[in-house]
């Protein structure tokens, strides 16, 4: 493997780990929020209410997924 290939792979790994890593739901949340923001372009109150609410729902889901579970008997 050449030095350039290694560098490209390392760069790709860095961004994959940063954007997705072990919490793909966070990446999904950001995708949904960006899409929703474009859909709500020009809106005032609806956008200001919906965007934080969607972020909160995804944060709840992601946090709940990361909870400590009781060991199986």
């Amino acid at each position: 493997m050449t030095a350039v290939t290694r560098a490209v792979r390392a760069f790709g790994h860095f961004w994959w780990d940063f954007l997705v890593g072990d919490t793909p739901e966070v990446a999904l949340a950001v995708g949904v929020i960006v899409g929703l923001a474009f859909l709500l372009a020009g809106q005032r109150v609806v956008g200001a209410i919906l965007l934080p609410l969607v972020a909160t729902v995804f944060l709840f889901v992601s946090t709940y997924r990361g909870r400590r579970r009781a060991p199986r008997p």
């Binding site: 860095f14 940063f18 954007l19 890593g21 919490t23 966070v26 990446a27 949340a29 950001v30 929020i33 960006v34 923001a37 474009f38 709500l40 372009a41 020009g42 809106q43 005032r44 109150v45 956008g47 200001a48 965007l51 934080p52 972020a55 909160t56 995804f58 944060l59 709840f60 992601s62 946090t63 709940y64 990361g66 909870r67 400590r68 579970r69 009781a70 060991p71």
Partner: protein, 262 residues
């Protein structure tokens, strides 16, 4: 740009840099104690220089050549990824679902690992300090500062570029790094007393608020009150943090719940 959003920008960058540099200091001190101070400090300085160059190389073209609205959506999305991840981790830690960040533990593990590579015993700082050059000590310190600093670079470039305040953002990050370096040198040990988890919570709230604001702004959503929406978002996510933390405490399995109870 409103004063409140500038203030929040400085605070967010300063706090993010502070917390990451405290983590980096732990690795540098561990490298210094076990492999010698000279290579450790050289490694840390080299990493800081590379990070500074990265801010210039990535940040300046962003400000000059990318349309502001597109830039705000992209950096807003990046800030949201960082902010939601930090906030998620902070909630899990505060509610007892994840162990708090422990600098003492990381320090002990790094020293043990480096000492083992050094021939089974930790070299005395004075003896190690006389070594001409130690590639391992340099590399460990460089890697520690560089990896911890990468997130700071992302935050500096994102927040600085979106508000066209790259210089101010870089200055806030550099001030935090200098503060940690001076305090670290004075006490010559890792700063385990710094309330890292609390600072991470604050930064998580700020990055999420900024990220959401810039994504909306860049996409064309009109925030009521303009920039004043940022402190409102900060307040909202503080409430969300406490509410989710309280809820997650009720979800602890029995033995962990007893351990986490105050």
């Amino acid at each position: 740009m409103h004063t409140s959003s500038t203030l929040i920008l400085v605070l967010a960058v300063f706090a993010a840099s502070l917390v990451e540099m405290v983590e980096a200091l732990t690795i540098v001190v561990a490298a210094g104690v076990s492999r010698g101070w000279r290579p450790a400090l050289e490694g840390a300085a080299a990493a800081l220089a590379v990070l500074g160059v990265l801010v210039l190389v990535v940040g300046l073209p962003l400000i000059r050549y990318i349309p502001l609205d597109a830039l705000r959506v992209v950096v807003g999305a990046l800030l949201l990824v960082l902010g939601l991840s930090w906030l998620r981790k902070a909630i899990l830690r505060a509610s007892g679902h994840k162990d708090p960040h422990d600098e003492d533990k990381i320090f002990a593990a790094t020293v043990a690992e480096l000492s083992a590579e050094n021939g089974g015993a930790a070299a005395a700082p004075t003896a190690a300090g006389t070594k001409k050059h130690d590639g391992v000590g340099f590399a460990v310190a460089f890697k520690g500062v560089f990896l911890e600093g990468t997130e700071v670079v992302l935050i500096v470039v994102s927040l600085g570029a979106a508000q066209h305040r790259l210089g101010l953002a870089a200055l806030a990050a550099a001030a935090a790094a200098a503060l940690v370096a001076v305090v670290g040198l004075l006490v010559a040990r890792q700063l385990s007393e710094v309330p890292e988890n609390t600072i991470k919570t604050v930064v998580g709230v700020m990055l999420t608020s900024f990220g959401l604001f810039w994504v909306g702004e860049g996409a064309g959503v009109h925030w009521p009150g303009g920039d004043l929406a940022i402190p409102v978002l900060v307040g909202f996510f503080v409430v969300v943090f406490f509410a989710l933390t309280a809820f997650m405490r009720t979800q602890l399995p029995a033995p962990a719940a007893e351990k986490a109870a105050p």
